[in-house]
Symmetry: C2
Subunit: 143 residues, 2 copies
DNA sequence: TCGCAATTGCGATCGACTTGCAATTAGACT
DNA sequence: AGTCTAATTGCAAGTCGATCGCAATTGCGA
């Protein structure tokens, strides 16, 4: 499972603003909390809790990811059967059943598809927790 | 997490044909294999391995589900963080982030949405392993 | 600088599978 | 019908990702 591509332009509260959100909720900006956020902001790719922990205690990392998720600063996506991947609240995801590659998609690119889904079944879809799964053009053409 | 709705018309090889597929591959139709298939055919709703095992050994059930999955007779979907749900290869799924309900959708109903996705990102999407996640009309209207 | 609730670190625990292996058995071949 | 043998089972133990209990620590407001 590899990340195929280019990294598209982003748009999310910067690190300082995120820390401010924590403080405003009466939550502490502890060293480990700051490290979790810094890891996510450093390289804005989705990563596992294990990778974020990077040798330190994962339990705390999971707890911090949970609270950050409740604040809407962080999300996680399941791309397959492995561990969930945590990232800033920026993209939707698509992954290929054939080659295992996945891509982060800017939400506006899926707006027409979202409209078609709404028309078909009435749901307002979001591919943030589970990706769109399918065959990429290459795998579809070379079965 | 409840199953909201009506059960739509189906189309999948009947039990006898499925057993025939097994035999043709040189695989045995053992008692427990037959029980797994019967459970799936009896009430064609997705169910957990635990439910299929129904008190008997789950390891065998998982092994049998795996082999049936390799033969294309069975699939499993992840609707959330719980255990996967196994079912015949018939529907796609949609689940509501708000109320937790999920629906089995006849594939043809999603064909336009699939086309829109293909146009947007080039993927031929299938919502069989991960559902479309979003807000149902009710939850979207009552936030 | 104190006080103390929020947070951490560690180990234990959980849930969902998965695996190793000896005992069982479906089904082909007499 | 009986034999042979590889496929399959049942059970226990193991793995992996995530969560929990709890004593020790630490942000941070007073």
């Amino acid at each position: 499972m590899t990340l195929a591509h280019h990294v598209p332009p982003l748009h999310a509260p910067d690190l300082e603003t995120a820390l401010e959100v924590l403080r405003k909720k009466g939550l502490r900006v502890s060293a480990s909390r700051r490290l979790v956020l810094e890891a996510l902001y450093a390289d804005r790719r989705p990563r596992t809790a294990e990778q974020i922990a990077n040798g330190t205690d994962v339990a705390s990392v999971y707890r911090n990811l949970d609270t950050l998720e409740e604040l809407g600063l962080v999300r996680h996506v399941h791309l397959g059967h492995g561990p969930g991947l945590y990232s800033l609240d920026e993209y939707e995801f698509v992954s290929c059943d054939g080659c295992g590659a996945y891509e982060a998609i800017e939400p506006h690119r899926l707006d027409e598809a979202r409209a078609a889904i709404q028309k078909a079944i009435g749901y307002h879809a979001r591919f943030t927790h589970f990706p769109i799964v399918g065959l990429c053009e290459y795998c579809h053409a070379h079965p």
